[in-house]
Amino acid sequence: MDVMDRIRQQVEDNPVVIFMKGTPQFPMCGFSSRAVEALKRCEQEFGYVNVIADQEVMQNLPRFADWPTFPQVYIDGELIGGCDITLEMFESGELKKMVDAAHAKRAAS
């Protein structure tokens, strides 16, 4: 499968997915670590892609949604942003609402 199709599949198959450096258990970048911690605290399942283990995704993800940096968080098929945005939305309560809504939508379909 083409790398852009692989990325698209991850984004579409998961209500919530983070493309990060390392894994949720062992993040390898401070920015990825913080973003994934915010997702964990939303207390819903989420998918992840370790871009360090998949160089093809690392090289091509920036042009997928025209976003140059990692991590990238997608909710309900849409890029919400990187670390700073994810944290800011977590602190305002918006992130949990979006995560919950994406799961509810998926459960209903």
Binding site: K21, G22, P27, M28, C29, G30, F31, S32, S33, R34, V51, I52, Q55, M58, Q59, P62, D66, W67, P68, T69, F70, L79, I80, G81, G82, C83, D84, I85, L87, E88, M89
Partner: protein, 106 residues
């Protein structure tokens, strides 16, 4: 011109900011002394008013597209309009420490 100066000049021209802070945080990471790889940028501008966070960050990413394509490894970004800046009393979050995962662009 250093990377820090280039970033400052481009953001200043693009956003006419009320407040602009470009901090070189490379020393917090596993890079040689004097590196210009990791930056924290705070931009306070009317240009951000009524814009969603992702739209604000896209504007900054576009303004710094050349630098992000070559040179900048990580960019912590805080984009506020003047009212938000006032409400927060000029405070933004600290950047995270490095965890060694320099497998590519942050």
């Amino acid at each position: 011109m250093t990377m820090q100066e280039t970033i400052t000049r481009k953001l200043d021209e693009r956003f006419a900011p009320e407040h602009l802070e470009v901090v070189n945080e490379s020393h917090m990471h596993n890079v040689p002394p004097g590196s210009e790889s990791h930056f924290k940028v705070t931009v306070v501008s009317e240009a951000f008013r009524d814009q969603k966070l992702i739209a604000r960050h896209r504007l900054v990413n576009q303004a710094l597209a050349d630098e992000l394509a070559g040179g900048i490894h990580a960019l912590a970004l805080h984009t506020l309009d003047p009212d938000q800046w006032f409400e927060r009393a000029g405070k933004v979050a600290d950047s995270p420490p490095c965890m060694g995962g320099d497998g590519g662009k942050a």
